[in-house]
Symmetry: C2
Subunit: 305 residues, 2 copies
DNA sequence: TTAATAGTGTCTCTTAGACAGTATGTT
DNA sequence: AACATACTGTCTAAGAGACACTATTAA
């Protein structure tokens, strides 16, 4: 039926007809999801009796099948035709890692034409945070050969600014290094940020890839950036702490995410209204015990003012 | 070929085989884009000689075909198999409205199973801002019967908080009203925000729809929220001002977006480093002339510190 | 002179950052 | 007593918010 004849039908008739003859007229992409799930874990090395150090980790899966067989990738997979993206990403995470019902927020949709060698795949990525203490032991499932937490280290290896009239261009190389015991994978991106007047555009190219599948180096770095941005003005970091926690521990979580030391007084003032004293104390290491706090549920009201 | 046999192939062979036999094994959704493009325009009514008022507007297209024939929708359309989402949204905007190369950022990907009656469509929405002065006259094209700028008015009509232990639930009804001359369309959503500990989840239902197609009431309200959030800590609003502008005009742009009056001194301090005095003056209305400013391209450096 | 808008000086209050101190526990 | 960590008091600098003032133009 011609397009103009189709339009003469009632809406119900149109939709029936559309499903029969129009629906699959054009080639469609597949939709997939990717979950960048982070945790802050205590380092296993308790060699000396200094303050127990924490580190930021991301969950990766060893690919059991092509493409990128043997490489490490974020959890994720195809969205089914009867589920939404949010459902798909939680389902895949559970299938592949056993991790269930975590805090997750939609981050970005990746749609570069050549991002998957098999076919056109558009991927919706999520950022998730989880308190590792609450997790069941990880178990690989499905296509995944192995599942592991990787320590995250990122660093800017090169940075150059250029200004021509109203246009400022910043070129950066950023290296991502992920370590899990003897397994070390890495990737490097080149990020070019062009600011033309008030308008900023960013282009990213993956220039090195060692054991990280697809464009996941870029996705992980982008997730990190967003995570760091949100830590300062939201309660997002509390998803990484247990029910009860000490302020020194909470501060370490912030420090590990932001990858810098924070001033103690200022930090305590900053989180003051987000926490409630439980009245309890805990002896963490040796020496003076810390007070135990809980998250303050009433804090949301302050945000809504 | 069985899945396990496929995996025995080399990666190149696997991909060849995959493209032949696996690629279309499962039903796929379509991918579309939606562009929420805003401008701040001077009201046409210059009845008295009071300060010329501005208003926030969004661009909508009257649907010439089913579904939602005759209703108003955001610009957008299907992504082609050989383009990425960003390209698609700019192309559709141009085809449907004649608007070309505007500042746009990806906002959110909408994937509710029933969001389109024809078939499964996942839509990636963008937020764009444009200085209306720079635009060519609008021209409807393609499926679009008509293209217009609508004045945006949103308001919370109902709000209720409830707290049970650590769980705070906020229920809001938000009405969106869009006016363009004699055309008035509107929609209402119910937004339920559940904060459980540090973890917030939001669910939105469209409870009324008068002339706004699809789930675009929700998308427009979400875009507005993001726009308001970003105005305070980015230079995003400068995309709505011309090359040269006065501070009173710029302040009005901020006020119209935020839908509240701002303190003059505080506003000027806030934008102080983002602008440069051109040395020129302009007589806007009657009375004392304003200084003309430009955007300060060097401001990005302050952000990168 | 008055009306209307443009622009500045300065006070206060809040928040961010830094330093020096006290407190409490183990060795 | 020495040490390592927990926690607090207080100084200073920067930013947000509000008020009162001066400046410039046309009618």
């Amino acid at each position: 039926m011609e397009e103009k004849d189709l339009q003469k039908l009632s809406e119900t008739e149109f939709i029936d007809q559309y499903k029969k003859t129009e629906k699959d007229k054009y080639e469609k992409p597949s939709i997939a999801t990717d979950m960048a799930i982070f945790t802050v874990a205590t380092k296993k090395v308790t060699d000396n009796r200094k303050k127990a150090d924490k580190e930021l980790q991301v969950l990766l899966i060893r690919r059991g099948g092509h493409p990128y067989k043997g490489d490490w990738a974020l959890a994720g997979g195809f969205m089914g035709i009867d589920e939404d993206v949010e459902t798909a990403v939680q389902r895949e995470l559970k299938e592949e890692t056993g991790v269930d019902g975590v805090y997750a927020e939609q981050l970005y949709t990746w749609s570069a034409v050549d991002r998957d060698p098999r076919m056109r795949i558009v991927s919706v990525s999520y950022l998730a945070l989880v308190d590792q203490e609450k997790l069941p032991p990880l178990q690989a499932g499905d296509d995944a050969e192995d599942v592991r937490w990787f320590t995250v280290k990122d660093r800017v290896t090169e940075s150059r600014d250029e200004r021509v009239d109203g246009t400022v261009t910043r070129t950066e190389k950023i290296e991502l290094k992920l370590v899990s015991g003897e397994v070390i994978v890495s990737g490097t991106i080149e990020k070019i940020t062009v600011t033309e007047g008030a308008n900023t555009r960013t282009a990213v190219t993956i220039i090195e890839r060692n054991g990280i599948a697809f464009d996941h180096t870029e996705i992980i770095l982008y997730s990190l950036e967003r995570l760091r941005g949100k830590v300062n003005y939201t309660n997002i970091a509390f998803n990484l702490a247990g029910e009860e926690f000490t302020l020194p521990d909470l501060q370490q979580i912030y420090e590990v995410i932001l990858d810098k030391e924070l001033n103690k007084v200022q930090f305590r003032r900053h989180v003051e209204n987000m926490v409630v004293d439980t009245g309890k104390e805990i002896k963490t290491g040796a020496y003076r015990p810390s007070k135990l706090y809980r998250y303050n549920a009433a804090w949301v009201y302050e945000q809504w003012k």
